[in-house]
């Protein structure tokens, strides 16, 4: 079993459990779930029966030969069970870990937010939807919920594996908490949103374990195809018996065909390779998704991810690095760059937005202007409001303001100053480059402009162009104005953008694309994303997002990473590709098996048919044995591929197809010829035939 | 059940309409046009000389007389058709034999032997395949020029005429390919024999 040694990612424990499970799965009820393997199972029983009767002298074929076939068929069944068990193994291990974190805790139920102190302690399992509980530092959150009061840092490593704590607070888009996570500091009041057994953690355990795994539509369709093939092969082998009797009678000899050999032929022809690996492929796909820290609510969603051809990507975090950053100080009217930087820094000291921080950093980098202690001077900070659209500081009798160009212009003119044309020109240039101009003024004088720029992430352009080749359109979603958005879109190489995006705008865009026949994927976190998430074909909700968003989506990204969408598409495609490739391989294998078995069966009847024995197999018996041994071993050999998935490349469909066809189609045609010949040689070598 | 009740009357009515249109109207129309424009062809291309029938141009017959040109091997059928007085009528059917069997090999060997014996002038030259095989209809009225010429010396000797004369008659009864391209060159056996017999 060299195959397992290669599988370093399968540890000993999982392996041991899988071996045990392979035998447990021999129960008829489990076997009945997979029709193709059921056929092998029944064939194994039949040949075993034939062997037993042969011991009593009712011989269908030599007893040793029948026994050998029966044993190999049992192994074939076990190998298929093993493939499924090992795929489930990883999920089971993960589920065990999750279960450990899901202990029953004491919940501090309160009647209302106003009565924080009238706590009743109840077991978490008894919580009902809508109950309010208070969770303090060091306590485990008893159930999924929505923070309605307070803010706290929460350790969510139990579900995300990420050790850094996250902030959960009431209102806004970071209000959802998950049962089983732990509050590290402060306290929160949460409203319970799920009852025991239906919590996120429960769902997660069920998903990773594969317990609630339903066959996806595509899996069912493929299974229909496989069953149809099996039925045909049953008819082929069953009709072959009378054909053989008929022909033998014509030739005036005894019927040369044994039931044992026909059963062997049937098992060889039936698409056992893909049949054995089909559920393993599905489970492994789900498992890969889990490893990417994405939790799919159904297997169907993963398949849909393979079909997605429009990705709605949030600009921030996916395309650009965080938020805009100060890139340059551009003074006007003879003001020195340093003075501008100094003023800009002053006005940004209290500005905790990433933009504000970046101005302070740039001033320090360029001119060594140190951060001043906020308490040092008597500084009066003017915070940004939507109305003024400016922020600033009153310091030492000076009023320093920075803000949107038109706001600052109004301010300066109102103060009796003039707004220089030079500044106007700068503002326009920056805006046309996709940057954001921040005009800085001191009292009535305009000092200059700070160029805030979006920094495009490294490699995104290449990524998008690869996606385009695969027929996937990328659409940038941004709150920026159209001009800025267009510039960034061009720089990042996305296909389209939605500027000044509103939830309604997103929803409309998704509908438009769907109307044109596209499948749309998006990520979202806020409550206002929920309609769009519900509309999208693949909707990934950030785990940090609101409960509403999580319910509307069909996947949850535990890392809350905006680039995850691309990984999800990859995993979806890989899953489908693996299924298609192994099906092709399995069917292509049949050709060689025919060339091994058919001449072996009928060479006694028509000696001329030995010309079909192109592999030059030793004897009819060794030919049949080699073919079914190959048939069993190939399952084991392909388990790693089924688990890892076929290699994924960002190629257009045509190229992907010819590649996979070459590898798995032609490979499937040639491999068995070589292997069967090899096995035949070994059998002869060991004197087994 | 409801659908069946709704559909059945319509189905039967439409079926009857088409039975009339395609069965009666169409057949009658084609027969009418054909009888009007191509009466000879449409009525079986019977060869008549001075009001006496001498066979059908389309149907082959069996010839064993050395003085006649022989046609394809015939698998005669004397059991299917009788005339009004109960006299047996000749017909023929294909052999439907596999050309790859031992039995067939023997059969052809006998035919070759017989042909070589009857055509001593051709010595050991290969016998044209048409003469040792049964046709598709069993009623093939023609053979290939090669098969006809193979027999010319025998016919000439049996009739005491020159081989050249026989070959000329064969040439006159040879039809080329359609448009010079399609089908094969054929020699009409009955016509050759009728010409040899001086009837045509």
């Amino acid at each position: 079993m060299t195959a397992q040694k290669k599988n370093a990612f399968v540890n000993k424990k999982i392996f041991g459990r899988a071996v045990k499970d392979s035998f447990l799965k021999l129960s008829p009820r489990t076997q009945a779930k997979n029709p193709v393997m059921l056929l092998v199972y029944l064939s194994a029983i039949l040949t075993t029966g034939l062997w037993m009767t042969s011991l009593f002298g009712i011989q269908d074929a030599p007893a040793g030969y029948t026994l050998a076939i029966a044993v190999i068929l049992w192994f074939t069944t076990l190998f298929a069970n093993f493939a499924e068990a090992i795929a489930e193994g990883r999920g089971k291990a993960q589920a065990d870990a999750l279960r450990a974190s899901k202990k029953d805790v004491e919940a501090h139920k309160i009647p209302s937010t106003g009565q924080k102190d009238s706590v009743t302690n109840v077991p978490s399992a008894s919580l009902k939807k809508g109950d309010l509980v208070i969770v303090k530092a060091g306590e485990q959150i008893p159930s999924d919920g929505e923070v309605i009061e307070g803010a706290a840092s929460v350790d969510e490593s139990a579900i995300t594996g990420e050790s850094a704590p996250v902030i959960r607070e009431s209102g806004g888009d970071r209000s959802a908490v998950t049962g089983g996570t732990t509050v590290l500091s402060d306290w929160i009041i949460i409203r319970v949103v799920s009852e025991a057994g239906e919590s996120f953690l429960d769902k997660m355990i069920a998903m990773v374990e594969g317990a609630s795994r339903k066959k996806t539509p595509n899996e069912i369709a493929l299974q229909i195809f496989l069953i149809a093939l099996s039925i045909i092969f049953i008819l082929v082998t069953v009709s072959l018996y009378p054909f053989s009797v008929f022909s033998a009678k014509q030739a005036g000899i005894d019927n040369p065909t044994s039931v044992t050999t026909l059963v062997a032929l049937l098992v060889c022809l039936a698409p056992t390779t893909i049949g054995a690996l089909l559920s393993a492929i599905g489970i492994a796909g789900m498992s890969r998704l889990n490893q990417a820290n994405v939790l799919a609510m159904s297997g169907r969603a993963i398949e849909a991810a393979g079909d997605v051809d429009v990705l709605l990507l949030d600009k921030t975090g996916t395309i650009t690095l965080g938020n805009r950053q100060a890139d340059a100080f551009l003074p006007v009217g003879g003001v020195s760059e340093k003075d501008l930087a100094d003023a800009a820094q002053l006005s940004s000291l209290s500005d905790e937005t990433p933009e504000g921080r970046s101005i302070v950093i740039l001033a320090k980098e360029k001119f060594g202007i140190r951060e001043r202690r906020l308490s040092d001077a008597k500084m009066e900070f003017i915070p940004f409001t939507a109305k003024t659209r400016m922020s600033g500081v009153n310091f030492g009798g000076n009023e320093i303001r920075k803000g949107a160009a038109d706001a600052v212009r109004d301010y300066v003119i109102q103060k009796g100053g003039t707004y220089p044309g030079e500044c106007d020109a700068l503002v326009r240039t920056i805006a046309s480059q996709g940057g954001t101009p921040l005009v800085v003024a001191k009292n009535h004088q305009v000092l200059g402009v700070v160029h805030l720029k979006d920094i495009i992430k490294k490699g995104v352009k290449e990524k998008f162009s690869a996606l385009r080749k695969m027929g996937i359109k990328t659409i940038m979603i941004t709150g920026d104005n159209p001009m800025t958005a267009a510039a960034i879109a061009a720089e990042a190489g996305v296909d389209d953008f939605l500027a000044e995006a509103t939830p309604e705008g997103k929803l409309q865009m998704i509908r438009d694309y769907q109307k044109k026949g596209h499948l749309v994927a998006m990520t979202g976190d806020g409550t206002n994303d929920a309609p769009a998430l519900a509309q999208a074909d693949v909707a990934v909700a950030m785990n940090s997002g609101t409960q509403a968003a999580k319910e509307a989506g069909n996947m949850v990204d535990l890392d809350s990473s905006p680039t995850k969408l691309i990984d999800i598409v990859r995993i979806g495609k890989q899953l489908l590709m693996t299924r298609g490739s192994l099906t092709t391989f399995s069917i292509a294998n049949d050709v060689a098996k025919y060339f091994a078995i058919i001449p072996a069966m009928f060479v006694g009847l028509y000696p001329g048919l030995s010309s079909l024995n192109i592999m030059g197999l030793h004897s009819p018996m060794s030919a049949v044995l080699s073919a079914i041994i190959y048939n069993a071993l190939i399952i084991i050999a392909l388990i790693p591929l089924a688990l890892k998935g076929v290699k994924y490349r960002e190629y257009p469909a045509g190229k992907l197809l010819s590649r996979n066809l070459l590898v798995y189609g032609l490979g499937g045609l040639v491999t068995p010829f070589l292997c069967i010949k090899g096995i035949d040689l070994l059998l002869v070598w060991f004197g087994l035939v | 059940m409801k659908t069946i009740k709704a559909v059945l009357p319509k189905a039967i009515a439409i079926f009857l309409i088409f039975t009339f249109v395609c069965g009666i109207f169409y057949t009658a129309l084609v027969t009418g046009i054909a009888q009007l424009i191509f009466p000879d062809q449409a009525n079986g291309s019977i060869i008549e000389v001075d009001g006496k029938k001498y066979g059908c141009e389309l149907l082959g017959q069996q010839y064993t007389d050395d003085a006649h040109l022989w046609g394809r091997i015939m698998n005669l059928d004397v059991s299917t058709y009788k005339d009004a007085e109960g006299k047996t009528l000749l017909y023929a059917s294909p052999s439907n034999l596999s050309p790859a069997s031992k039995e067939y090999e023997k059969l052809v060997a006998e035919r070759v032997e017989k042909l070589r014996a009857s055509n001593p002038a051709m010595e050991d030259s290969a016998v044209p395949v048409d003469l040792v095989t049964c046709s598709g209809s069993g009623l093939d009225p023609a053979i290939s020029p090669a098969a006809a010429r193979y027999q010319a010396p025998r016919i000439a000797e049996a009739r005491g005429i020159s081989e050249q004369e026989v070959l000329e008659i064969i040439d006159q009864c040879t039809t080329g390919r359609f448009l010079g391209l399609f089908g094969e060159e054929t020699v009409h056996v009955l016509k050759v024999n009728l010409m040899l017999d001086g009837i045509l």
Binding site: G580 | L59, Y104, V112
Partner: protein, 604 residues
Amino acid sequence: MSNVIQYILYLAILVVLAIPLGAYIKKVMEGEKTFLSPILTPCENAVYKIMRVKKDEEMGWKKYCASVLIFSGSGLVFLFLLQLLQGVLPGNPQGLSGVKWDLSFNTAASFITNTNWQAYSGESTLSYLSQALGLTVQNFVSAATGIAVLFALIRGFQKVKSKGLGSFWVDLTRITIHVLLPLNLVIAVALAGGGVIQNLSPGQTVPLLEPVAVNAEGEILDHAEIDLASQTVTVDGVKVEGAEIVTEQFVPMGPAASQVAIKQTGTNGGGYMGVNSAHPMENPNAFTNLLEMISLLLIPAALCFTFGSCIKNKKQGVAIFMAMFLCLAAALAIVAVNEQAATLQLAQEGSVNLSMIDQAGGNMEGKETRFGIASSATWAAFTTAASNGSVNSMHDSYTPLGGMIPMLLMQLGEVIFGGVGCGLYGMLAFAILTVFIAGLMVGRTPEFLGKKIEPYEMKWAVLVCLATPIAILLGSGIAAAVPEVADSLNNSGAHGFSELLYAYTSAGGNNGSAFAGFNANTVFLNLSLGIVMLFARFLPIAGTLAIAGSLVGKKKVAATSGTLSTTNAMFVFLLILIVLLVGALSFFPALALGPIAEFFSSIA
């Protein structure tokens, strides 16, 4: 060389004629004006008026299917009774008696399924009335039914999120009146001009140049001396008592040309004569042969182009056509090479002249001199590619591999052009299987022409594709176990098995051609072959309509570069591969016991 030119021309003429006919059929079916509409549209409307058919009715798939089944069922009953009762009906100048019930059933099933398997011999079994009113009518309507079902499927691809597939009655009427009747009128008259009989007179007799002697047991007496004057027969100088001297030959008559035309264009294939178009009165010369042979593939080929323009994707039509055409050309090449090479048994170590000098040469057993190898091999490939089944040479007498190819073409499910309509919808079901596998390999759930292929479509598509293999394997498997079937064989050994396999293959492919040495007129064979034909015809029809019904309700998915192209060479190649693979995997063992075994024995 001239043979190669013939092969190429046959294929070229087919393509050249199919393209405009395809465009014409599209216009007719979409209710557009054509150059014949001034005459034919009033006739069409008259039919609707008499039948009270609503022209714009939209049937759901179940109603469409019920209409097809009930209509065909009516035909089955009518044809069955017509044959049973022909003895007491008019239009029977030969005075033939009623047909036996099992043969009647077989023939009725055979003609309503567009199979036209002939367990009977036309000229000796069926009256003119049965031929014209029964067979000719079914030749028309069974063909029209196939095309109608195809159009229901086309509408499934055309329409988005709707329910109706059109009206079966309208489809049936349009095809019959606008396409089949005018086309066949022209062809039938041309055939009559070429020498195919078309009359209503009883069979005739003509004198034999050389009388034939038959002994009392009905055996032909070779080397008999016949004295016509004294009516005595002597063999080797001994007088044969009770011998009969046969002096007349039977000349069949009847309305053949009209039926031959539609049996070719409608891919029916049921000949007027027992030996079909090998008979010189059904196919007298190279001209009629050309006409009949091209017309047998004309509509199936044209429908590929019709399909392309109907779904507004001409390339798709061409792609499907190319897949079929390449298979046909390859099959033709194999048959041609094998037949021209003949067998060792025929070659007699050089004693038989098989050359192409002044003769067709090659394996002439079962072939007509006027057709030679080229026109016979082409016909054999055409007729089994299309589920036509008419023959101009005897397939039973083909070389082992030359005879295997026609069998394989049928076993592929009659999708290499196939029957009118049914060939294409069968091929589209294969296309669905192909996109299913190929779609997965490019990481997409499968779609075809913008419609997602889901479990429901898959379920019916596999049934459509596998109905033929299932019917053939089941039928021939059972037959092989019935002891009396061996008595029907005309050849022994592997070829005998081939005859049996061919019979069920032909029935399962709704083809109708035969290894004609096989005597299929027994109760068991008549019934079992009839059932096989019905199964292989109506299961795919139901499946196709179910698929159409499901597709018509679906939205269309946009095509991107991530979508699997179904119009490029790769798809054509894959489609061929899937068709061949399913066929080969299903039938390799059976073929190994038949033609393949025979081939290896013959070269041993």
